[in-house]
């Protein structure tokens, strides 16, 4: 049998040879060599799938477009309610309880009713140290507070990114190794917060930690990217 054709050898990168081809390859170093090279090529290509590249997109640019067509993204309220009724119910209970607590506080009562305290006792004015701070809050609603929280998180992340780039007193030496170490640590934090979110998926504090850590990871990836030569790809962290 003559040597296998180039097309056939290329096909054997991920196909099985026929019995005749297998017999030839077993006795022909040149064809076996070529078949192995094509297998290596296919393996290299498959491994390339898992590699990561430098980011092409910026979140602020995507968010700007999405904000412009927000009505297109939004889904009907009825569907949202149906999909998240436990969360909505919990939020309703929270608002109800919060309103009751606010009412009690404004009346000078304890925030929570106590089974062992009589109705009369509950009307005793609270000490000054117990004054409910929410009465002085800058927030007019839960949405207002959430918006402020988002703004603060974004500002915090921007500040961290700015300091990472320009603060010469920072201990980070700006080396790829330092960024990779930070990424590894952030991944452990993400793993821990993910675990916590399984226990309390709607807890706003844990969600906040999780999203903040993701933001830090994103910023670190970008810093790592800028610390590497342009031609170097990020394929492991």
């Amino acid at each position: 049998m003559s040597h296998l054709s180039t097309d056939r050898l290329a096909a054997l990168g991920d196909e099985q040879p026929t019995p005749a081809e297998a017999a030839h390859i077993a006795s022909c170093d040149a064809c076996a060599h070529e078949r192995d090279a094509y297998r290596s090529l296919v393996a290299m290509a498959q491994a390339d799938r898992a590699s990561l590249g430098l980011p092409l997109t910026r979140w602020d640019a995507i968010a700007a477009v999405l904000s412009a067509d927000a009505p297109t993204v939004a889904i009907p309220m009825t569907e949202r309610l149906a999909r998240h009724w436990p969360l909505r119910a919990a939020a309703g209970v929270l608002l109800l309880a919060g309103g009751a607590m606010l009412g009690r506080a404004s009346a000078g009562a304890d925030l929570l009713p106590s089974a062992g305290v009589s109705r009369t006792a509950a009307t005793v004015p609270a000490p000054a140290s117990r004054t409910l701070r929410i009465a002085d809050s800058a927030f007019s609603s839960v949405d207002d507070a959430r918006a402020a929280q988002r703004r603060s998180e974004q500002l915090y992340q921007q500040a961290v990114a700015y300091l990472a780039r320009y603060d010469s007193t920072a201990t980070n030496d700006g080396s790829p190794l330092a960024y990779r170490s930070r990424l590894a640590a952030l991944d452990r934090v993400i793993s821990a917060t993910s675990e916590a979110m399984r226990e309390a998926p709607h807890d706003p504090v844990i969600n906040g930690y999780y999203l903040t850590t993701l933001g830090q990871r994103e910023a670190t990836i970008r810093q790592l990217s800028t610390s590497l030569p342009t031609s170097l790809r990020l394929d492991s962290f």
Partner: protein, 195 residues
């Protein structure tokens, strides 16, 4: 990723923090798919990648969770990129075979053709051959799926793939061959191979 479903649901509800979390987690994978398919034109790749992400978020309410979000987004990225490339006429010559100049390469020419990486080598293929190779060998699409997306036959897809591999095998010879094998002389008694 147990909590990703929750993040997706929050993104569907319009939570920008959740959207950003999805983008943060998946952009390194999605963006690189776009860049691979587009090739060397990074400006075009960036434009298409942004378009891909906007499409992903616009289509998010239709995400049923049958597959992982990453898999679903990956499909959108491939389809959107191919459509964009078609619009820019970069795949107009999809049916044109790559020139089979991989045979009898002189040593000097071979050195000039050597590529630093598989991405570098793939970028030197014709758009059609590069697309078929990337979709099949890198992204894992079948020839039937490729044929549907590119408007060619499954046989045409195979033909493009094998010729693309033959060119890449030459360009990446220094990375594919083990030194012990590479140094072996060609001492066969029968017809010389075509490579």
């Amino acid at each position: 990723m147990e909590n990703e479903q929750l993040t997706v649901q929050r993104a569907i509800d319009g939570d920008q923090g959740a959207m950003r979390a999805l983008w943060t987690r998946h952009a390194p994978h999605i963006d690189v798919v776009v860049r691979r398919l587009v090739g060397q034109d990074l400006d075009l790749a960036a434009d298409i990648a942004q378009d891909v992400w906007i499409q992903i978020f616009r289509a998010l309410p239709s995400f049923r969770g049958d597959a992982q979000f990453g898999t679903w987004a990956h499909r959108i990225a491939v389809n959107r990129t191919l459509n964009a490339l078609r619009r820019t006429r970069r795949t107009a010559a999809m049916e044109v075979d790559v020139e089979d100049d991989s045979a009898s390469v002189e040593p000097e020419a071979e050195r000039a053709m050597l590529a630093a990486s598989i991405e570098d080598a793939a970028a030197r293929l014709s758009p059609g051959a590069r697309t078929v190779f990337l979709l099949h060998d890198v992204e894992g699409y079948t020839h039937e799926e490729i044929a549907t997306r590119l408007g060619i036959t499954a046989g045409g897809s195979k033909s493009q793939l094998f010729k693309a591999r033959a060119k890449l095998r030459v360009m990446l010879a220094h990375l594919l061959e083990a030194p012990s094998v590479k140094s072996q002389p060609h001492t066969t008694g029968h017809v010389a191979p075509l490579y």
